[in-house]
């Protein structure tokens, strides 16, 4: 009975996503250009949907599970770590949004790597970035599947594999319907992520006896020599060094401009009006979700004073199971599932585009014809999804390990070629290639060897190395051609 009540809202949610995906799929068969519809939704996104899909893609199962869990331990210091995300909602849209929209239309680009190819005309760079994207996106997808399935198992008491196959198969199925299906389901997911957060907030404050009682309780935990609780200091009583907190402004703040799954969204909206609206809506939702969920983890300490047996990742499941009516639990668990699925769907469709457009172009020497793409794209999406499901069923250490590096790795690979390529006329393929290799290399190697230079996160070093290498490569190589300058820098091409 308990499991049934929990499963009922989840089943309705999955059915709703399939229905939305099915509706979008019908638009697909009616569209003039298959690839433009399948990979970009025919560039027709309005402001609210653009904002929702951006935030839902960005917010993942770790936002919902690991973040609050860490905040349970560190207190408000972890909210300081998460706080840079108040700028994440508008930064990429404001910096790259319009240029990517104008240039992708002008050059007929459907993927981020399409645009990179037009800018640099460098085969090695396009192949390298396609592979980086494919490997990191697949590993992240597996990680998301594992995280989502674990929380599902913890809450429903059902077998891990049953839950995994159920929601992962639904995700892959609707993602195969194309980009429009992905962004519309993302919008549904964003709403449910917010709903889950409000329900969790209600339960925590209710069971904790109100905000004042919760705060009074927190003041008695982890009390330092000066009489204040470490939970209520900005650096968790010194546990979080300033250099790490500053690094967060790069990792989840400024460098998120380099996330390719966000970039592709900049190519898919309708008009400047939609972009402006999306900047506002995304800032409101992104900040609310990221600060809200992390803060709930802090408050949860007053309700669950002992660390759950499963570690800090078990905090949210324990809250949902131990403190909620089964029906309410069923609605709340949709939050982390929605966070998982909306991230996965966007990564899958982008991974499919990397194979069908970018790698196909490099392997065959000509762009994939619409007729071929029409036959193979859905199959490719399902295939990549199926591989990820299998890897989540039979976890490999190496995949879990790549997943750890994926977020910052994508940033350190894609940030400079795009930002410098769109804003610096002198930037050339030598700079881009050297920047990607050094940025990603330094980021990954420092992670592997656990080099910790003055407490800064590796993203700071990867980002700096990528920039310096880009500059060196740029000045060693020639200026880009006249033709490139006229398209990408019409205002500076003399």
């Amino acid at each position: 009975m308990h499991a049934l009540l929990v499963l009922l809202p989840v089943a309705l949610f999955l059915a709703l996503l399939l229905y939305v995906g099915y509706r979008a799929n019908r638009r697909l068969s009616a569209s003039a250009s298959f690839q433009s519809e399948y990979f970009l939704g025919s560039r027709s996104l309005g402001g609210v949907v653009l904002a929702m899909t951006l935030v839902a893609t960005y917010g993942s199962v770790s936002t919902y599970v690991s973040g609050p869990g860490l905040a349970w331990g560190y207190g408000m210091g972890w909210v300081v770590f998460a706080a840079p995300q108040i700028i994440t909602g508008f930064l990429i849209l404001g910096v790259l949004g319009k240029k990517m929209a104008v240039l992708s239309r002008r050059t007929d680009s459907l993927t981020v790597i399409d645009l990179v190819s037009r800018r640099y005309d460098c085969r090695a760079l396009s192949i390298l970035l396609s592979l980086v994207l494919l490997v990191f996106f697949s590993a992240t997808t597996v990680g998301q599947f594992v995280g989502g399935a674990q929380i599902f198992a913890a809450i429903t008491g059902l077998d891990y594999k049953v839950g995994l196959i159920m929601f992962a198969a639904v995700t892959v199925l609707y993602t195969a319907g194309g980009y429009r299906a992905v962004v519309l389901t993302d919008a549904v997911c964003a709403v449910l992520m917010l709903t889950g957060m409000f329900l969790l907030g209600y339960v925590i404050l209710h069971d904790g006896g109100g905000l004042s009682a919760v705060m009074a309780k927190l003041q008695t935990i982890d009390v330092q020599e000066d009489g204040r609780s470490a939970l209520l200091t900005y650096n968790a009583g010194g546990a979080l060094p300033l250099s790490l907190l500053f690094s967060a402004w790069l990792l989840v703040g400024f460098c998120t401009v380099g996330l390719p799954q966000s970039m592709v969204r900049c190519m898919s909206y309708k008009s400047t009006q939609s972009l402006h609206q999306a900047m506002l809506v995304a800032t409101i939702i992104c900040g609310a979700l990221m600060i809200g969920l992390t803060l709930l983890g802090v408050f949860a300490r007053a309700v669950i004073p002992e660390l759950p047996k499963g570690g800090s990742d078990a905090l949210i499941p324990e809250l949902i199971v131990g403190h909620m009516h089964p029906l309410l639990a069923g609605i709340t668990i949709i939050g982390p599932l929605a966070a998982t699925m909306s991230t996965v769907s966007s990564l899958l469709i982008a991974a499919c585009s990397a194979v069908m457009r970018d790698l196909y172009l490099q392997a065959a020497g000509h762009p994939c014809p619409d007729a071929v793409s029409q036959k193979l794209s859905k199959l490719m999406t399902v295939l990549i999804g199926a591989v990820c499901i299998i890897l989540a069923l039979y976890p490999l250490d190496v995949v879990a390990w790549i997943n750890l590096f994926a977020f910052g790795g994508l940033e350190s690979a894609f940030l400079w070629p795009l930002v410098l390529g769109l804003f610096m006329p002198r930037m050339n393929k030598q700079g881009a290639l050297l920047g990607v290799i050094c940025g990603l290399g330094v980021y990954t190697l420092m992670g592997i060897f656990k080099l910790n230079l003055w407490g800064w996160h590796n993203i700071a070093w990867g980002c700096a190395a990528g920039f310096i290498a880009s500059m060196i490569g740029m000045y060693l190589g020639p200026r880009p051609s006249r033709a490139v300058a006229e398209v990408f820098f019409p205002h500076k091409a003399a």
Partner: protein, 99 residues
């Protein structure tokens, strides 16, 4: 009253003017300006955030039972971000055709 009707019916209202007037090169000039404004706004928000932590981190004052540094930096920073985007899209960003 007279003015309002005149403005809204006039074909030369500012928004329409902007979209009609920008050439391909002018759009790029405008987009460079907008990107600069957005980055400056993000840096100002960063400065406000750390400035308020520096100022209030040792203050025992509370607001709604929450420490003052937290309310100003995290909640205030969030509201500041929303206000900053409002100003950006109203004052600094222009509408033009993407084609």
């Amino acid at each position: 009253m007279h003015n309002i009707t005149e403005n809204s019916s006039s074909p030369a209202s500012p928004a329409e003017n902007q979209s009609a007037d920008l050439s391909y090169a002018q759009k790029f000039q405008q987009m460079d300006k907008e990107a600069t404004a957005v980055i400056i706004a993000a840096l100002l928000i960063t400065a406000f955030f750390w400035g308020s932590i520096y100022l209030f981190k040792d203050s025992p004052a509370e607001f709604l039972a929450l420490p003052l540094w937290f309310v100003v930096s995290c909640l205030g920073g969030y509201l500041l971000s929303i206000a900053a985007v409002w100003v950006l899209v109203r004052r600094f960003m222009r509408n033009f055709s993407l084609d």
